[in-house]
């Protein structure tokens, strides 16, 4: 067996490892093992690549890897669980950037002198540069929005769609010029630069609440860019891994859209959430009359003498890092004989499943977590629904007000509970910027303040009863 055969077999082992890694993600018990199998597969692929007979510059490559690996590891270890979505966006961005740079660097290498690049290789290089560039810049904007370095609200201006469409057409035209016209490196650099600009302009008008969908889509983009690189280098492991990610990112994007009852086009071009950013007349109405503020002592009594309490966690809980306190409160209530469960909306938090990760971090027992379809029939029999930092996922307008931007989105029907307690920092509208009539419902009382702070006070009040 020649050395190149051995390398090809090693790459096959990597492909198998990646498929198993994804397969094992179907259950929380096997998933950690799956991730490690994936990491081993990656290590095999990297080792096999270093074994290539005609590889030069070993040392400079190894030194660069030795310097950048701790950077990635540190960032991954230091990040808080609540900041996970933007971290994923950032790692996705660097992957896209790497694909674009590989295309750029490879352009010289494959260009015969004199002569033309073969069509298939040329198309792949151009695609890798274009998609990788968009993914890099778009992910950085998504990161900045989630990290609140820039405003989460959609940034829109007149003629925006026209400008974006024109830019995209220009990029495609430039790509064609590179393929059939003068094959100059400078043109490819312009293409990458244009892709970066497009990536920024494309994500700016999308609201912060939709960033998870965007990250998932850009994740698919980076996968496609990696697969395109595979065509350039005639490397199966790149093609397969890239396409696995491309397919999974696409599917995940569709599933997320479905959970919010919105089409992908609506997410990408709808500038969702800008409506409420305008006149504040409606907000003024809601600030006044209907809202009833309450005290922790009242809520403590309500909870302690309830038979069944359902906790509805939202992003506010995550931001306040209140998951551990919520669990302590739930334990305390259970000691008093109260039945406690958690109702998790599919898009609670900022990514599907984000809330499950956070509650798992606080050791909330598995069977207490109810998904939306299981939780909703229970609300009429629930004495107190404790809404902690959730807003849009409990907004009854989604059911009844056809004028609302989230009309049709499946929600948790907390307004069917006997009593609703909403823990909220202020009357500010949620991340999507939409008013919520739940807050003026006669069954609802509001407990204003930081979620962690409020829950801690609730714990001491319940203890004193």
């Amino acid at each position: 067996m020649s050395r190149s055969d051995a390398i090809a077999l090693a790459y096959l082992a990597t492909i198998i490892a990646f498929i198993l890694a994804l397969r094992f993600l179907s259950s929380p018990t096997t998933a950690p093992l799956g991730n490690r199998i994936g990491a081993i597969g990656m290590a095999i692929a990297i080792a096999a690549t270093f074994a290539q007979p005609d590889l030069h510059n070993y040392w400079s490559i190894l030194i660069v890897m030795a310097i950048s690996a701790p950077v990635g590891a540190y960032a991954a270890r230091a990040v808080k669980m609540t900041a996970m979505p933007q971290m994923v966006a950032l790692f996705n961005g660097v992957g896209g950037g790497a694909a674009a740079l590989v295309a750029l660097a490879d352009f010289y290498a494959v260009a015969p002198d004199p002569g033309r690049i073969k069509a298939d290789v040329g198309i792949s290089i151009v695609l890798s540069a274009l998609i990788g560039g968009i993914s890099f810049a778009g992910s950085l904007v998504a990161f900045a929005k989630l990290q609140e370095l820039i405003r989460g609200r959609p940034i829109v201006y007149r003629g925006q769609k026209v400008v974006n469409a024109a830019l995209l057409c220009g990029l495609v035209a430039l790509a064609l010029v590179i393929l059939v016209g003068p094959q100059r490196e400078s043109l490819l650099i312009v293409l990458v630069a244009g892709a970066l600009v497009f990536g920024v302009l494309f994500v700016l008008p999308i609201g912060g609440a939709d960033m998870p969908v965007v990250i998932s889509l850009l994740n698919a983009f980076t996968g496609l860019a990696a697969a395109a690189t595979g065509f350039v280098l005639h490397n199966n492991v790149l093609i397969v891994s890239g396409m696995l990610v491309g397919a999974s990112g696409t599917l995940l994007t569709i599933l997320m859209g479905r959970a919010m009852n919105r089409s992908l086009a609506n997410v990408l071009f709808g500038a969702f959430g800008q409506v409420a950013a305008g006149p504040s007349g409606a907000a003024a109405d809601m600030d006044g009359a209907g809202v009833r503020a309450t005290t922790t002592d009242d809520v403590a009594v309500m909870l302690a003498y309830a038979k069944k309490v359902v906790v509805v966690p939202g992003y506010g809980l995550a931001v306040a890092q209140a998951q551990h306190d919520v669990r302590a409160l739930a334990d305390l209530l259970e000691q008093r004989g109260v039945e406690v469960s958690y109702a998790i909306h599919p898009v609670a938090g900022r990514m599907p499943g984000h809330m499950n990760v956070l509650l798992a971090e606080a050791n909330v027992p598995y069977p207490q977590l109810k998904e939306m379809d299981d939780a909703n029939p229970d609300f009429p029999r629930t004495d107190v629904a404790l809404v902690i930092g959730a807003n849009d996922v409990v907004n009854p307008d989604a059911r009844s007000n056809s004028g609302s931007p989230i009309y049709g989105m499946p929600i948790l029907n907390v307004d069917e509970a006997q009593q609703v307690v909403v823990l909220k920092r202020s009357m500010n509208p949620g991340f999507a910027g939409i008013e919520n009539p739940l807050f003026v419902n006669p069954r609802t009382v509001m407990l204003f303040g930081d979620a962690k702070d409020s829950v801690e006070k609730l714990i001491s009040s319940v203890k004193n009863l």
């Binding site: 950690p32 490559i61 599917l251």
Partner: protein, 102 residues
Amino acid sequence: MQTAQVIIELTVLVLAIFIGFEVISKVPTMLHTPLMSGTNAIHGIVLVGAIVVAGLPDQTTWIRIVALAAVALGTINVVGGFVVTDRMLGMFKRRREPDEPE
């Protein structure tokens, strides 16, 4: 010969798409965040491409810089992606030992 290779590669590509859809559709919503992060780590495979390009002989200086920058970004993607996913999934594993201190 050249055409045959492209067709084989396209076949591999299409099969990978189907496997991707098949495998991902079995992942529960609860694990979608780790899934996104896990696939994110997998597309770090572009690092292999970066190493190959950075290892080509007779480069001009600026091409070598670009290729090594790709190696750096790819490495961050791979290492960060797998570590972050491992941390997330560790949270799920821990729930079977309920009284472990934080």
